[in-house]
């Protein structure tokens, strides 16, 4: 059932949908580039894993989701948050560990969540998300609310027992669940060509009785089309889908990663494959949008990210007493 879809075009989306998609991808890119710069300043605590280069995946999948739907993310979760509509002011403050953050500064980069947006959290545990979305999808199925749950996970997590068990359960329970394997080539420093037993992660779908597709992760439209089919199938009770999205991450595994394990494949990707560049070329050559419209978004996003950073820096830190709150509802 694994296959590569023909490259779709921008013709199937309305100009407004295209503008929204571009804004999401541009916001993710600017946000991550800025966090990269800010992290070097030393004011951001803990670990930060950046999503730059992978924008088309989050944007292409989440374009099909609405308030009924939920996503579970990874340690590389900023892009998923933004694509699911989480406010970047709260996100940036969270990354800075400030009390105004999405999680009051208690989660940080690896645990940004906004349950009100159906964003079930970035996750510090590789393979932590798939079981969560099985639960969420099961809840939607029981409630009959038409909701779909999506787990984003990496090539490393694709080898985890929790992921494989979740794939199995999703079929056994016929869940409205979608598994998006974001294969950026490396689990930390371990190459997926070495660590994944199959040629493609999507090949594993057959073993769990669900469709598996491979898409070019630099191509928003390819992701969008594959996700659209999966979401429609899930909503109609047709069960789960595994989508493998292939691309390259632009930064290291974490901020500070010396990346001695890979040759400079990033320069080539940024130059020739970049999802934002391809999107711009696609929509402007087809005539759906003008360069001016996209430039306008670029400047709005730049200002918004700047504001988020200024606000995050100015915001107060949590109190020491906050270490003891929210551990339990009651104790």
């Amino acid at each position: 059932m694994t296959g590569t879809l023909p490259t779709p075009t921008s013709q199937e989306l309305t100009p407004d949908q295209l503008l929204d998609a571009y804004r999401v991808m541009r916001t993710i890119r600017d946000f991550e580039e800025r966090v990269h710069e800010e992290f070097a300043g030393g004011d951001i605590p803990g670990f930060v894993h950046l999503y730059a280069g992978e924008e088309a995946s989050a944007a292409g999948v989440c374009a099909h989701l609405d308030g009924r739907d939920a996503i579970a993310s990874t340690h590389r979760g900023h892009g998923h948050c933004i694509a699911k509509g989480v406010d970047i002011v709260g996100m940036m403050a969270e990354i800075y560990g400030k009390s105004t953050g999405s999680c009051r500064g208690k989660g940080g980069s690896m645990h940004i969540a906004d349950l009100s947006k159906g964003m079930l959290g970035a996750n510090g545990i590789v393979g932590g998300g798939p079981p969560l979305i099985c639960g969420r999808a099961l809840a939607s199925k029981h409630k009959g609310d038409g909701g779909v749950a999506v787990a984003f996970f990496g090539d490393g997590a694709s080898n985890q027992g929790t992921t494989l068990e979740s794939l199995n359960l999703a079929t056994v329970w016929n869940l409205p669940a979608i598994f998006v394997a974001e294969n950026n080539g490396y689990a930390e420093a371990t190459s997926s060509s070495w660590s994944v037993a199959t040629d493609d992660i999507a090949d594993r779908a057959a073993a769990f009785g669900m469709p598996g597709v491979i898409v070019d992760g630099f191509d928003f439209f390819a992701v969008h089309e594959a996700a659209g089919e999966a979401v429609a199938r899930a909503r109609e009770g047709g069960g789960p889908t595994l989508i493998e999205v292939k691309f390259t991450r632009y930064f290291g595994h974490f901020e500070g990663d010396q990346q001695l394990y890979r040759a400079d494949e990033v320069a080539n990707a940024r130059e020739k494959l970049d999802c934002l560049k391809r999107f711009r070329a696609n929509v402007t050559s087809g005539g759906q949008l003008t360069g001016t419209q996209l430039d306008q978004i670029d400047s709005e996003v730049a200002a918004a990210v700047d504001e988020a950073v200024v606000a995050a820096k100015a915001a107060p830190k949590p109190d020491a007493a906050d270490l003891l709150t929210d551990v339990y509802v009651s104790y």
Binding site: G107, L132, S330
Partner: protein
């Protein structure tokens, strides 16, 4: 399922369920109850015999209940279901066949409220689950030799009703903790240490203070010599009484 099997879902329990509320800044509740079977007694070898309460008790965000009788089990289960925090509900496998008067109606036994199962002024025995019954047998035996044991069943190890334990220990001056688990980082060491520390600050009779713990050995199959029985409990009590006479 057997508490020994929890290893396969540690991440979901420890890192996901237990942490959501804190990590998400109080914006999440995780109202889940995980029922599990614990304790020795079925002679079922190393992977079906453990008493891993302390492992779960150790994790912030989790609550742990371990009822010793049917009445407590119903009240604690209803409390657990109504609780918005994740609860590990540990049912001792050797207690399924015991019976007690249980009201038809719903009722809640609050977490963190120990039960003084037996009153006595000479020694405090803290025991949980099946060990409550073993301790009671030991207490009856001890009563024959003039030693009156007070038995406290904490009922939940997280939260733990430290206050009731301390009140009793301040009265008796002696503490024996009966714990089926392995001795390091166990309910036994925790209760002994907690009582001793607080007691030092609260009570001047330091010299009469004598914590004793059972068991003393490590084994994945807690049976026979490494499992606390009536005689061993009585022996520990006598040691404590003699120490602080």
């Amino acid at each position: 399922m057997f508490i020994d099997f929890m290893g396969v879902c540690f991440d979901q329990i420890f890192n996901q369920a237990a942490k959501f509320r804190y990590m998400f800044g109080g914006h999440a509740v995780t109202p889940v109850v995980v029922r599990t079977m614990w304790g020795a007694g079925l002679r079922a070898a190393a992977q079906h015999s453990q008493s891993l309460l302390s492992v779960f008790t150790h994790v912030p965000g989790l609550k742990v209940a371990a009822p010793s009788n049917a009445y407590d089990a119903k009240g604690l289960m209803i409390a657990a279901i109504r609780d918005d925090d994740p609860v590990i509900f540990a049912e001792h496998k050797m207690l399924y066949d015991t019976s007690a008067d249980v009201p038809e109606e719903s009722y809640v036994l609050p977490f963190g409220e120990a039960n003084v199962v037996r009153e006595g002024g000479d020694v405090t025995i803290v025991a949980i689950g099946r060990m409550v019954h073993t301790a009671l047998e030991a207490a009856e035996e001890l009563a024959g030799s003039g030693v009156q044991a007070e038995i406290i069943d904490p009922r939940t190890t997280s939260p733990l009703d430290v206050e009731t334990i301390l009140e009793s220990v301040e009265n008796t001056g002696r503490l024996v903790v009966v714990d089926e688990s392995n001795p390091r980082c166990s309910l036994a060491t925790d209760v002994a240490a907690t009582s001793h520390r607080t007691r030092s600050g609260r009570c001047g009779r330091e010299s009469s203070w004598s914590p004793a713990r059972t068991p003393r050995c490590r084994s994945p199959t807690p049976r026979g010599p490494v499992h606390p029985g009536r005689a061993k409990i009585a022996g520990a009590v006598k040691t404590a009484v003699d120490y602080a006479r």
